[in-house]
């Protein structure tokens, strides 16, 4: 299908909205009626047609507006994109991976023509037509990582692999769930995850690191993560927390369905060929609670997950104060019926909400 790109905002007047198409394909992150950390990795080799898992780098109706939002964040704070000096080669690897993937997966939107190192990139949705020399930084308006991630939805952490660890040595981070690239750049896998409660003791990060160190070229992996955000604000950065934090206090029983959003990260992991770095795209999908509960199974399940989530996790995810309000709202969409296993909406087989 040809995607109709929305003209919308993720700040100020918040005109962001999901179409029915976007709601139906939303990556709902809960495969059962409760949630606890796990190393929920699977192969990233496609998925059901039309789903966000189908393509290597999913492009959806929010693409053009998300890229405008990113440009605005970077204009205000260039430190959101940084690359330590040894990471330039990984940046070229990433540029190649994205250009090749997008031109193959979305030939109507993106074209890549290569003649040796003379490359020609066409990005139709953003109106970009760029000829450049691969591996020659002087032929692009930005460094290779910044150039291509200004044209690709999701945050990007580019991880160097050495000493049996992964080091966050480059990144483009403007749609983050409250972590700072500027502070975390240069840290290893355990250090940048240090503030996460419970998961260290559960051995999650040791196992996840072991898996990630062994991701091979051509065999990318993926997992989902989630949190909650008031308003469809992409840039929930610590840098701007003193500006957006107060928005959390604007929830009321009347507006919670429109204002409270479930924020899901589709995290993918690709080995890069020349640098042996690992790129870790973190793609953010937002959905208003009123749209979540339009799917009966998701309404039932989200209520149970949020209601029963351990206090520590609700605190870490930043919605402990609003949880009663959220649970109260969601409870109206939980009739107590059993839910089918798995993340899919199952709209044809799950019963509608019982009065």
């Amino acid at each position: 299908m040809t995607i109709q790109f929305n003209d919308e905002t993720f700040r100020g007047d918040y005109t962001f909205k999901n179409s029915q198409w976007a709601i139906d394909r939303f990556p709902f992150p809960f495969h059962e009626d409760n949630y606890m950390y796990s190393v929920n990795m699977e192969q990233h080799q496609g998925g059901p047609e039309g789903s966000v898992y189908e393509k290597r780098f999913d492009v959806d109706e929010h693409y053009v507006s998300e890229m405008k939002d990113r440009a605005q964040v970077l204009a205000e704070d260039p430190l959101r994109c940084q690359s330590l000096p040894h990471m330039t080669l990984a940046g070229w690897d990433l540029l190649e991976l994205i250009m090749v993937s997008k031109s193959e997966d979305y030939p109507d939107l993106f074209e890549l023509h290569r003649d040796g190192n003379h490359w020609h990139w066409i990005n139709k949705p953003m109106g970009i037509d760029q000829r450049f020399t691969f591996m020659d930084e002087t032929t692009l308006p930005y460094g290779p990582m910044e150039y291509i991630t200004r044209q690709t939805q999701g945050d990007f952490a580019v991880l160097d692999q050495r000493d049996d660890n992964l080091w966050m040595d480059a990144g483009m981070v403007t749609t983050q769930a409250d972590w700072s690239l500027d502070f975390d750049i240069g840290m290893n896998f355990f250090e940048w995850h240090a503030p996460v409660p419970k998961a260290h003791e559960m051995g999650i990060f040791v196992r996840a690191l072991k898996f990630l160190l062994n991701v091979q070229q051509g065999s990318p992996a993926r997992r989902l993560n989630w949190t909650m955000t008031v308003n469809p604000l992409l840039d929930t950065s610590p840098e701007n927390y003193h500006k957006w934090g107060v928005q959390k206090t604007t929830l009321t029983p009347e507006n919670v369905g429109q204002k409270q959003h479930l924020r899901v990260e589709l995290q993918t992991f690709f080995r890069l060929p020349r640098s042996n770095a690992l790129v870790f795209p973190i793609r953010c999908y937002l959905i208003a609670l009123e749209d979540v509960v339009s799917v009966p199974k998701w309404g039932r399940r989200l209520h149970r997950v949020i209601r029963d989530l351990p206090e520590e996790l609700a605190t870490y995810k930043g919605f402990i104060d609003n949880r009663p309000l959220i649970v109260d709202y969601l409870s109206k969409f939980d009739d107590g019926l059993a839910t089918s296993p798995g993340i899919w909406p199952d709209k044809d087989s799950e019963p509608p909400l019982q009065a």
């Binding site: 840290m187 995850h193 003193h242 206090t249």
Partner: protein, 202 residues
């Protein structure tokens, strides 16, 4: 006794050990204030160390308390400076000349050790090869995540950013690249509601 046992914390927070004499062609010792005690002990443990040692010492508010004792060790080189910032060009110059076999020892406050470690790692020495021992104040260097300004010698939590004026709480999350802990606005969700400050580890 000037040492402090830091309670267990998150994995990005530095932990400090006890300096031990190590085999090496030359030895760089950087200390401030009560950190001198660690160097005096090293010298007592290995009488051959000082002839190969370059000591860079910032007495801070300990004044002359340790300087004559350090001089008496007869190190190969001893620099006593008025501030860490003043000592940095000399430290960089020394690291520029460093060869394989240099051992680095850091002792004193977290701010001193963190900044000196940054210089040493920038010069190419792995952080895991550098010994550290905490002495003296538990004050921290804290970066404001909002304005990026660093406030030195933070003893209170929360405290006011010396650059942008926001009220920040002090996290244990630590960046070696910045040699600083992270400070985050404490009243973002309830502007003006700033709890009374308490001393760190009080």
């Amino acid at each position: 006794m000037s040492t402090f046992d830091f309670p267990p914390s998150i994995l990005s927070r530095p932990v400090y050990g006890r300096l031990e004499p190590r085999a090496g062609k030359s030895h760089m010792m950087i200390a401030d204030a009560e950190g001198a005690e660690a160097i005096l002990r090293l010298a007592a443990e290995d009488a051959t160390l000082m002839a190969k040692s370059n000591i860079l010492y910032i007495p801070g508010d300990t004044g002359d308390k340790y300087t004559s004792q350090l001089k008496a060790l007869k190190p190969k080189q001893l620099y006593v400076g008025p501030s860490y910032e003043a000592a940095v060009p000399r430290l960089r110059r020394t690291l520029l000349d460093a060869h394989m076999g240099l051992q680095v020892y850091l002792a004193g406050t977290e701010g001193l050790m963190g900044q000196a470690m940054l210089e040493a790692t920038t010069a190419g020495i792995p952080h895991s090869a550098i010994q550290t021992e905490h002495h003296g104040s538990v004050a921290r260097r804290v970066q404001c995540v909002h304005c990026k300004g660093i406030t030195e010698d933070v003893m209170l939590d929360p405290f006011q950013c010396s650059h942008c004026g926001l009220n920040l709480f002090v996290r244990d999350h630590y960046s070696r690249r910045l040699a600083a802990f992270q400070g985050v606005c404490i009243d973002a969700e309830d502007p003006g509601n700033v709890p009374a400050s308490v001393e760190l580890y009080s």
